[in-house]
């Protein structure tokens, strides 16, 4: 019995806990005497493995918690007692960040850009992918490779000409310009992912729709698009996070303060904080920028994790 206790994970010391695995399967019969010494070793390793996991968990969570706690402090507390708890919940920090720190304006700008860019990316990406996945025509492979090839280029390579081109059509320093650019730079991955997805859908359903008198456009919007929902959700989450967090493109294309998006505005706020010394406002701004995505993540974490990792592996 003592052996069993040693085998058990430190958090499950009672011997019944060691009889069944997490999946609820009954434990396999004993390995025999051979591994007795090693098992004691593994027992300590179990403690170690938990220790490692806890340490990394703290390394990840502590900085985030620290920012949230600091956002309720005043400057004296932030500078004098970084590890202490706030003496009062100062919500006016958030109000100051929202109005004087322009975080509110940045939120609105980001929301506007995202509404446009995400809709456009999904619409253009899905239609292009559908056309490439289901129809053979002269040059269809070329078009596919032109789209997918875009993933191989570092975005900074485009900085100089893009700055000029966007300025040339009067879209520099405008939110609609940002929408179009975000969309254009999201197309390679979106087309790539959705083409693969549309190819997995059976032909027979589109054929049946056609026999029932459904035109090609209706077939797409009414039959094929609903069937592609899982793929659309994955790539949608991917693009949502990508556009929400986008930093490179706005840094080059947006210059005036009132047009900036959240990621960019926050970085500038941090720089100006260095001169002004209003630390509580910076931490409040950081918390405001951080919490929405973390809340969405906490609710949909399974979908988000699988969506992002699936995107990586394709």
């Amino acid at each position: 019995m003592s052996e069993q206790i040693m085998d058990a994970a430190p958090s499950a010391v009672d011997e019944r806990g060691s009889q069944t695995t997490q999946a609820g399967r009954p434990a396999k019969p004993a390995a025999g005497e051979a591994g007795r010494g090693r098992k004691a070793f593994d027992g300590t390793l179990n403690v170690f493995s938990h220790a490692f996991l806890v340490v990394w968990g703290l390394l990840t969570a502590l900085p985030l918690l620290w920012v949230v706690l600091s956002s309720f402090k005043d400057d004296a507390e932030i500078l004098g007692d970084p590890w202490g708890l706030p003496s009062a919940l100062r919500f006016d920090n958030f109000a100051r960040a929202w109005t004087h720190g322009n975080i509110g304006q940045y939120f609105v700008n980001t929301g506007i850009v995202l509404a446009g860019s995400l809709t456009l990316t999904m619409l253009l990406g899905a239609t292009a992918a559908y056309a490439l996945a289901r129809y053979k025509f002269v040059g269809s492979r070329l078009v596919y490779f032109v789209f997918v090839g875009g993933m191989m280029f570092p975005v900074v390579l485009a900085f100089v000409p893009l700055f000029k081109i966007v300025g040339g059509v009067g879209l520099r320093d405008t939110l609609p310009g940002l929408m179009l650019i975000y969309t254009a730079y999201s197309l390679p991955f979106t087309v790539f992912f959705l083409t693969a997805f549309f190819r997995t859908l059976p032909d027979s359903i589109a054929e049946a729709a056609y026999i029932d008198g459904c035109g090609p456009f209706r077939t797409f919007f009414r039959v094929m698009l609903p069937m592609a929902k899982p793929g659309l959700i994955s790539v949608g989450i991917f693009n949502f996070l990508g556009h929400w967090n986008q930093y490179l493109l706005p840094v080059v294309l947006i210059t005036s303060d009132e047009k900036q998006v959240l990621a960019q505005g926050l970085a500038n706020l941090a720089i100006s904080e260095g001169y002004r010394g209003d630390y509580s406002r910076l931490f409040a701004g950081l918390t405001l920028a951080m919490l929405p995505v973390l809340v969405v993540y906490a609710v949909f974490q399974r979908q988000v994790q699988s969506g992002l990792t699936a995107g990586q592996m394709k």
């Binding site: 085998d7 009889q19 695995t21 997490q22 434990a27 396999k28 004993a30 390995a31 051979a34 591994g35 090693r38 593994d42 179990n46 493995s49 490692f52 996991l53 990394w56 968990g57 990840t60 969570a61 900085p63 985030l64 500078l79 590890w83 253009l124 990406g125 292009a128 559908y130 490439l132 129809y135 078009v143 191989m152 570092p154 900074v156 390579l157 100089v160 000409p161 893009l162 081109i165 966007v166 254009a184 197309l187 090609p216 456009f217 797409f220 996070l241 967090n245 930093y247 840094v251 960019q264 926050l266 970085a267 706020l269 931490f283 973390l294 699988s306 992002l308 990792t309 990586q312 592996m313």
Partner: protein
């Protein structure tokens, strides 16, 4: 079925192709041409100078310094992130040896995964601003923790000291990416049949042996993808460094992307900046091809 496919093809392909061609393909193509000119952004006049920009780059110590920093990142970022990711994923997924020889995940592995993955949700700008505050020499989380532990000597001006700034930034990159690979490797480990791990445990294989001899070979495809992705990330690095240090102090954290940005929008040397971009493209391309080549192995089929 194929009846009337051309209206659909035109309607479905023309708008995305037009947008993509105008804002993505054309800038990339133009940058190769601009790289051959002496264009100074502010004036419209320029002339073709052939490969002069590239020749000048050969003697530009700032570019070499930036490239060297990228190469250090290229070696260290994938190595540290994948090692740590594999280690934590192993602990989470096959770390618990609850009853006798059975192999399971540890308790609370779901919660760990949720926490580890969280930085992946945050933009580089949030990560950068957050860590700049953590590293703050006076009021930062790190130095005040060191002082509280009586290790005052270890408290540094992390981002202000050329000796430490690069390592501080590298640590942030690893911090932000590990969680993603813990989840990715964890998902891959789930597809490895339990019996293999159980057989190894029965045969008395230690956890390190299990990790090196069983997990790594079986997960090789996933590790390869991770390697390539992290290599591309290491060759970029622009955004995080732009937020945290702007390449300083004394260029100790400068990277090629930031060099391009500084030349283009600080000094308006558009021709030279584009040449830097072209070099960056070829370096990225060769590193990708090379790492796919070098890491190719016989694929192990699972049943």
């Amino acid at each position: 079925m194929r009846h009337g496919k051309y209206p659909l093809l035109l309607a479905f392909l023309l708008p995305p192709l037009a947008l993509y061609g105008y804002f993505v393909v054309s800038p990339y193509a133009q940058s190769f041409l601009i790289a051959m000119t002496n264009w100074q952004g502010l004036s419209p006049a320029y002339e073709f100078v052939g490969f002069d920009n590239f020749k000048r780059m050969m003697g530009d110590e700032y570019v070499w310094n930036a490239l060297l920093n990228n190469l250090w990142l290229l070696v260290l970022l994938p190595l540290l992130t994948i090692a740590l990711g594999l280690f934590l994923a192993t602990m989470l997924n096959v770390g618990g040896r609850g009853g006798r020889s059975t192999v399971t995940g540890v308790r609370g592995s779901g919660l760990y995964k949720v926490i580890y993955f969280a930085p992946q949700m945050l933009s580089v700008s949030i990560v950068g601003v957050l860590w700049a505050e953590v590293y703050n020499p006076r009021s930062g989380l790190l130095n005040s923790a060191l002082r509280a532990l009586g290790l005052d000597g270890l408290a540094k001006i992390w981002l202000g000291d050329p000796a430490y700034a690069f390592w501080a930034v590298l640590a942030v990159m690893v911090w932000a990416n590990v969680g993603f690979y813990v989840v990715l490797f964890g998902a891959a480990m789930q597809s490895v049949p339990r019996d293999i791990y159980e057989a190894a445990a029965l045969d008395g294989a230690s956890r390190l042996t299990t990790l090196v001899r069983i997990t790594v070979p079986l997960l090789w495809d996933t590790i390869q993808v991770a390697w390539v992705y992290l290599a591309i990330l290491a060759l970029d690095g622009f955004a995080l460094i732009h937020v945290m240090t702007r390449g300083g102090p004394n260029f100790s954290t400068d990277v090629v992307g930031l060099r391009l940005y500084t030349e283009a929008f600080g000094d308006y040397k558009w021709g030279y900046a584009s040449a830097i971009g072209v070099v960056m493209f070829f370096v990225t391309l060769s590193v990708t091809v090379l790492s796919l080549r070098l890491t190719r192995r016989e694929r192990i089929e699972l049943s």
